[in-house]
Symmetry: C2
Subunit: 178 residues, 2 copies
DNA sequence: TTTACTATACCGACCGGACGGTATATGGCA
DNA sequence: TGCCATATACCGTCCGGTCGGTATAGTAAA
């Protein structure tokens, strides 16, 4: 786990700050301190705060894409294969709801909504993909919407279900997609 | 629609700013300008920015509660009555996904996550209520989660379905709750 | 004259970003 | 091998602007 390049370390730090202290605590200084270097050092790797957040968003997208591929491969063929993949990705701790990622959305929307543009594009792509193999697109869309709700609730630390209850919801979602 | 008291006008202004310009543009000055008074005027009515956001959150809660009551009365008796109420509320333009409300969440979470406390409490209440009349709590929870996803996607201006597609999703949700 | 409300002026803190400088590593070249 | 040149990575400091909040003076109605 030795960080070969500092860039990733800084992104990690920024994510951690958003997650543990809230978006408003994400400053270049704070990120620098957590990543154990100076603000100047951070600005060497990212030419602006927007740039840093762009990188956070990109990492989130890449992470989701990777999980999608991984789960899609495991998922049996048939209708709703992509929708089921989305469900499994959403509940994966490495995914958008998990610790590492997730805060990127919050950071982007608060600092500069334009930074969401890559997400918008990806989202459209994912939606299209899900609908492409869903006999009932409305049902698939509803389930995917619920996955967004899950991410959302984690972001806001809303009192969502305990682990066991979440597992039941996940199973329920998969049940609907058979 | 004559504003009887200035407080409501200021809250309206704050909501509008979050919605139209983004959270980071919500400053006391900006809110004052939109509400057509001075910053001093705003601080007369709200002793701090946190106080203003608390009021925004409270309005959102009240609005949702009111809609819940309204739709619950209209909804036929039987299982999943509360879950169906949540669905109708979520899609109501006066509700959390609509123009007036919604941005309150964003404002709270970015400025000071503690301001979400009232939401947490309300949320727990709503969840409990939904589960109380749902034969399959996991299904009801899933659908409610999707409603949160809907709100979330609107907040982030994600490329969600067009009106007609959303209507189908709404009908799909109600279909599952029969 | 008190109350309710508004406007102006200002302070202090914070933050993003710019900049000059520094240490190390690498590489050509004589 | 010794010497200079350059690139990479990073530090510390400073500046300009913004924003929340305070203090205070003013005004209009009751």
């Amino acid at each position: 786990m030795s960080p070969p390049n500092t860039r990733e370390t800084i992104i990690d730090a920024a994510m951690a700050i958003v997650r543990e202290q809230g978006v408003n605590k994400l400053t270049l200084d704070a990120a620098a301190k957590v990543a154990k270097l100076s603000k100047g050092g951070v600005l060497y790797h990212f030419k602006s705060k927007d740039d840093l957040i762009r990188a956070m968003v990109q990492r989130m997208i890449d992470s989701c894409d990777a999980l999608h591929l991984e789960y899609y491969a495991q998922e049996p063929e048939g209708p709703y294969r992509w929708a089921r993949t989305v469900v499994r990705t959403a509940f994966d701790p490495r995914g958008p709801s998990g610790d590492p990622v997730g805060g990127a959305l919050l950071a982007a929307v608060t600092v500069n909504p334009d930074l969401l543009a890559p997400i918008h594009a990806k989202f459209a792509e994912w939606i299209e993909r899900v609908e492409s193999d869903s006999p009932n697109p409305a049902l698939a869309a509803l389930v995917c919407m619920a996955m967004d709700g899950y991410v959302f609730e984690r972001m806001l630390k809303l009192p969502l279900c305990n682990d066991e209850s979440c597992e039941r919801i996940k199973q329920q979602a998969l049940e609907l997609l058979k």
